[in-house]
């Protein structure tokens, strides 16, 4: 936090009329921790609630100047670190400043009921959000199937009647795959193409073989007399790929001795 900001904050920060003699503890954040820290807020309302709770501010009587100042300190930091995050936060800054300035104007009239506190809408939002935040914590405390609630699911031998099962065409499968690729490209984590397909098939076959035997000789995967050359190549590529993905290990005791393939152990 820059010293300039700190000074501003100290000059401005008054809570219920009391000037703060020193910076609140929770406002100091080591610079390297800041990014993680800012990430932990779900949005501007979450940040405001945090400031309100930490400073023991009565949510129904918010000192707008204090809150706005403290809020701006955080937003400044966010702008420096991750600009793209700031949009929702900037909108809130504008709203806070507007409320603050409206509070400075004298009430137009004293006897009109609809002359609402400028803070009313913000407070309603904060309360509703806090309520939902509480609700989400309460939900999270319930044990959930798939996390920490376990459902009996013993096995039983089914006599499968193929007619009762959904039909799926190869086109449908292909379309599903196209969809996956489209989305995967959005995440930019995977580049998926087809060249390796037969390699992938062989990878599965090799693992299936290794399921029964711990150790299989490298040679036994290749039948040079019967298999066409492309198949031999594909099988070899599959072994390399499995090794790369740490699914199998290739062993050779000494040069020129037989090579063995086994399942990778941890």
């Amino acid at each position: 936090m820059s010293s300039e900001l700190q000074t501003d904050l100290l000059n401005d920060a008054k809570i219920y009329g009391e000037s703060l003699s020193k910076l609140p503890q929770d406002l100091y954040i080591p610079p390297d921790a800041l990014e993680v820290y800012l990430d932990s807020f779900q949005g501007p309302l979450d940040l405001l609630l945090y400031l309100i709770r930490k400073n023991n501010i009565d949510i129904l009587d918010i000192p707008m100047a204090t809150l706005t100042t403290q809020y701006m300190v955080y937003v400044e930091k966010m702008k420096q670190i991750k600009l793209e995050l700031a949009a929702d936060y900037l909108l809130m800054s504008a709203m806070l400043i507007e409320i603050k300035s409206r509070m400075l104007l004298p009430p137009v009239s004293n006897d009109e009921d609809d002359d609402l506190d400028p803070r009313a809408e913000l407070v309603k939002k904060l309360i509703e959000y806090e309520l939902m935040k509480t609700a989400s914590q309460e939900l999270d405390d319930i044990s959930q199937v798939g996390r920490d609630r376990f459902i009996a699911q013993g096995y039983f031998e089914k006599v499968i009647e193929p007619k009762s099962l959904p039909d799926v065409s190869i086109e449908e499968l292909f379309n599903a795959w196209k969809n996956v690729i489209k989305r995967a490209e959005q995440f930019e984590t995977h580049r998926i193409n087809r060249a390796e397909l037969s390699v992938r098939e062989h990878m599965s076959l090799i693992i299936k073989k290794l399921r029964n035997d711990q150790l299989i000789s490298f040679d036994s995967f290749f039948n040079e007399e019967k298999d066409p050359i492309p198949k031999l190549v594909v099988c070899f590529l599959a072994i390399l790929e499995l090794t790369k993905e740490n699914l199998i290990k290739i062993n050779q005791q000494e040069p020129c001795s037989p090579i063995y393939i086994q399942r990778a152990q941890v």
Partner: protein, 195 residues
């Protein structure tokens, strides 16, 4: 007597192997002969008692009855395959809470309550898990989808109905009452502070 033990065993086996809750209607399908719903309820009570000292609990959730591991085993079971435990982010859980407590809601409603724009992936997680579904469109410009929770949501949280959601009404009433009282009296000290 003999016969009722046979019925009971069939129901128990179905519940132990189904992997999903079974309703009384489901359980009736197990038998060629027609069993009364009251008979089945009685047998379920019996089964519940049989298991009370054992490893599983027979519980009733939104879609019916199911066996679950007694809570004392949770820690051990979680050690078995820690990678299987599905943990959702705070954002996902907040959106789930908003849909659960304020349903039906549009995406815009959710954004308004949380004060941030919604990452589409957050909703997708919940749709994918089948905890949330689109139940229609709101008849306003743009016809945004309306989201609500599903029965699977209730099942997975072991709730019989939405009524059983954790109660937040206490804090709700308290707050709305005090809004009326305090808010309208904007006090002078605030204005002084702000100068």
């Amino acid at each position: 007597m003999e016969q009722s033990v046979k019925y009971k065993n069939i129901i128990e086996t179905a519940l132990l192997t189904s992997g999903r809750p079974l309703s009384i209607d489901d359980l009736q399908k197990l038998f060629e002969e027609k069993l009364e719903r009251s008979t089945i309820r009685m047998l379920l009570d019996d089964i519940k008692n049989d298991w009370s000292e054992k490893t599983l609990d027979l519980v009733l959730v939104a879609n019916g009855y199911r066996f679950e591991a007694k809570p004392i085993f949770t820690d051990s079971l979680m050690r078995l395959s820690p990678d299987r435990a599905i943990k959702y982010s705070r954002a996902v859980m907040e959106v789930l809470a908003i849909i659960a407590y304020r349903q039906p809601v549009t995406r815009g409603d959710i954004e308004k309550i949380r004060g941030v724009s919604l990452n589409p992936n957050t909703l997708r997680q919940l749709l994918e898990r089948e905890w949330v579904e689109i139940i229609g469109q709101k008849e306003v410009p743009g016809r945004p989808s309306l989201y609500a929770t599903t029965k699977f949501f209730l099942d997975d949280f072991a709730l019989k109905s939405l009524n059983q959601l954790p109660d937040i009404s206490n804090s709700e009433d308290k707050i709305s009452n005090s809004i009326e009282e305090n808010l309208l009296s904007a006090d002078a000290s605030e204005q002084i502070n702000d100068q």
